[in-house]
């Protein structure tokens, strides 16, 4: 199957936006403009982008503590995201959520989540709601290999299976739960296998290949919209950086391992594909890159110039 060229260009651009956003976060954080925790998505861009390119604006996602990529890919606003991680009032959440809780309900981002596995219930419930309200919306739950050992993962797969809910569980297996190798703490041959006893089909894809992720997701979305139920997609991926900005990501991971993953960089892979297929030239893709760079600079400047919330806001939004 060959994808329409506009989808490929859109995915390329979205991956660039995520990469550039995360590089900028590194600078903002180490420059003292951002506090707290920053879990970077660099290296995993093809997963968020491949999945979200197959979704509509009114579909839902739940994200994770490593969530900037999902939010960019689903249509979050770069300026509002940057302002949010810097605690400014112009942020998506008026500075109340920060990096781990970015939400934009207007484009179906039901929130990043600081609890590992925190999105399982919410995404499955959003799918239940879509079914009850009689829409054909689908919900995607992004989660990591670490979250696959939380008990609620198995509870929600059971719910999704008995009620044929339009939900897609997307596992980003980056091979480390924080600092611990996944295989040391995870039974079975694969995470994808875990849905099979529930009768939920699963597939494993190369998480560096945005096209493969898109195709797997598109098939799952079609299945969900038709009322045939849930799918589990395990994406084999890797984070180039540490668990968070303060972790160099070395010691528990070998240099060779890191380099082997960087050698099949998701953005380079798609760039090569686009050029090989004569969809766009290198010069045209470079122009995309300059546009993203410009967009990022504007977002950063706007966020830096934005005020912090008034202290009077501290007890607003506790209740509706």
């Amino acid at each position: 199957m060959s994808l329409p060229s506009e989808i490929l260009i859109k995915m390329y651009r979205a991956m660039l936006r995520i990469r550039r956003f995360e590089e900028q976060i590194w600078e903002v954080y180490t420059g003292g403009l951002m506090h707290g925790l920053a879990h970077l998505y660099i290296g995993e861009e093809a997963v968020a982008v491949g999945v979200c390119a197959a979704l509509r604006d009114d579909d839902f996602i739940t994200s994770t503590h490593r969530g900037h990529g999902h939010c960019v890919a689903k249509g979050g606003n770069l300026e509002a995201m940057m302002a949010e991680v810097m605690g400014r009032v112009t942020g998506h959440c008026r500075g109340k959520g920060g990096s781990m809780h970015i939400a934009d309900m207007s484009v179906g981002i039901l929130g990043a989540n600081g609890i590992v596995g925190g999105g399982f219930g919410i995404a499955t419930g959003a799918a239940l709601s879509a079914q009850k309200r009689g829409t054909d919306q689908v919900a995607v739950c992004f989660f990591g290999d670490g979250a696959s050992n939380q008990g609620i993962f198995f509870e929600v797969m059971n719910f999704a299976a008995i009620w044929k809910l339009p939900v897609i569980y997307v596992c980003e297996n980056n091979h480390y739960g924080e600092y611990t190798p996944t295989e040391n703490v995870t039974a079975g041959k694969s995470i994808a296998d875990r849905s099979l006893p529930f009768g939920i089909p699963s597939t494993t894809v190369d998480g560096s290949d945005a096209i493969a992720v898109y195709e797997a997701t598109a098939a799952a979305v079609e299945r969900a919209r038709k009322g045939d139920g849930a799918t589990l997609i395990e994406c084999d991926t890797y984070r180039y950086r540490g668990h968070h900005v303060g972790d160099p990501g070395e010691g528990y991971r070998s240099k060779e391992e890191i380099e082997s993953w960087m050698a099949k960089d998701p953005i380079q892979l798609l760039r090569t594909k686009i050029m090989d297929d004569n969809i766009a030239s290198g010069a045209e893709l470079d122009a995309e890159e300059r546009e993203v760079e410009k967009e990022m600079e504007n977002a950063l400047e706007a966020a830096k110039a934005a005020p912090y919330p008034d202290v009077e806001e501290v007890n607003q939004h506790v209740y509706a």
């Binding site: 219930g121 239940l128 209740y319």
Partner: protein
């Protein structure tokens, strides 16, 4: 206002049925809520009217159940989630405390989470330590949640309907010992009780008995006995713990100058402590006797009947507390 006599359980069911008829986005899910009408049988007939689509039996998986409710509430539905025994809320605490309670705040006011979690509380059924606890203080502790704790059939109906219409997560506790309790209940479809309004169940001048849920009836029994001894007790029911009608509690103690607080949660670190502190701060200059707190004994609820009975406040405990205040009428 037209009224009809019904039991506490019937009042809950009527509230639910009315809200489901009024709003198609309301549905109920929980373990055994369907044809069985819950293990307490109080919802019998609801499934007949609304069917599998809206009265939904679920797996025994409390975390997932509440989690699905939160996600549904976030996306245009108004689910009622039934947690059979309040003790089982422990299994769903992450969903309630870290998700439902915080999503609106963390999203800067973008989200609403109109989920109603109904559960039961109360000892007295020889059900032992894991089916008898009253853990409402846990949830009242968490900003972002509302907690209602009705003591009569009329309050059960009015508070339940308010809970379903509220855009916030509400946890409503029904004492399972009260399901057969009868009372007059308004039948208007728009009968609701605003949250945060304490209710004076009996007026009095000498002492205020602040009581919640089934302890309201313990307090009323005590007030009857005290009246025979010439002591006039006011019985006040906060009805909701969050929001808490602190003003009415304080006003009553300003008037009576004395208070006994009775709640079936564990005494230590519980509701009675919060209310006592509220009253001390608000009525300090008027208080004539140390405030007395009565709660469940700080032990796991025992099985054997004499042991279980010893853990729950009784009218006699309330009467003794008031007698010890040595009220002298001038």
């Amino acid at each position: 206002m037209s009224m009809r006599e019904m039991t506490y359980g019937e009042a809950v069911k009527e509230a639910m049925a009315e809200e489901m008829r009024r709003d198609p986005t309301v549905f109920l899910m929980g373990e055994d809520v369907g044809k069985a009408g819950t293990v307490f049988k109080v919802l019998l007939g609801l499934h007949d009217e609304f069917g599998d689509d809206r009265v939904i039996d679920t797996p025994i998986a409390e975390a997932g159940l509440v989690g699905l409710g939160v996600g549904a509430a976030l996306t245009g539905s108004r689910p009622i989630v039934d947690i059979m025994f309040g003790d089982f809320i422990a299994l769903a605490m992450d969903q309630i405390v870290n998700q439902a309670a915080k999503l609106r705040y963390m999203s800067g006011g973008q989200a609403i989470v109109p989920i109603t979690i109904r559960s039961t509380m109360g000892a007295g059924r020889s059900s032992a330590a894991q089916h008898s606890q009253s853990l409402h203080a846990w949830l009242a502790h968490i900003p972002g949640l509302k907690v209602a704790i009705p003591s009569t059939p009329a309050d059960a109906k009015g508070l339940f309907k308010t809970a379903v219409r509220d855009d916030n997560p509400v946890v409503i506790y029904e004492d399972k010992m009260m399901y057969a309790l009868k009372g007059m209940v308004p039948t208007e479809e728009d009968y609701t009780i605003p949250f945060g309004q304490a209710h004076i169940k009996r007026e009095g001048d000498d002492v205020t008995l602040i009581a919640t849920s089934s302890m309201v009836h313990v307090a009323l029994d005590a007030a009857d006995a005290l009246a025979e001894q010439g002591i006039s007790a006011e019985v006040l029911d906060p009805r909701t713990l969050v929001p808490l009608d602190r003003e009415t509690l304080i006003e009553s103690v300003v008037k009576t100058t004395r208070a006994v607080i009775i709640d079936e949660g564990y005494k230590s670190f519980g509701i009675t402590g919060e209310i006592a502190s509220t009253v001390y701060n608000g009525a300090f200059d008027y208080i004539d006797a140390p405030i007395v707190r009565l709660g469940a004994m700080d032990v796991p609820v025992p099985f054997s009947k004499p042991l279980e009975d010893a853990t729950i406040p009784t009218p006699e405990d309330v009467i003794k507390a008031v007698q010890d205040m040595k009220i002298i009428h001038r």
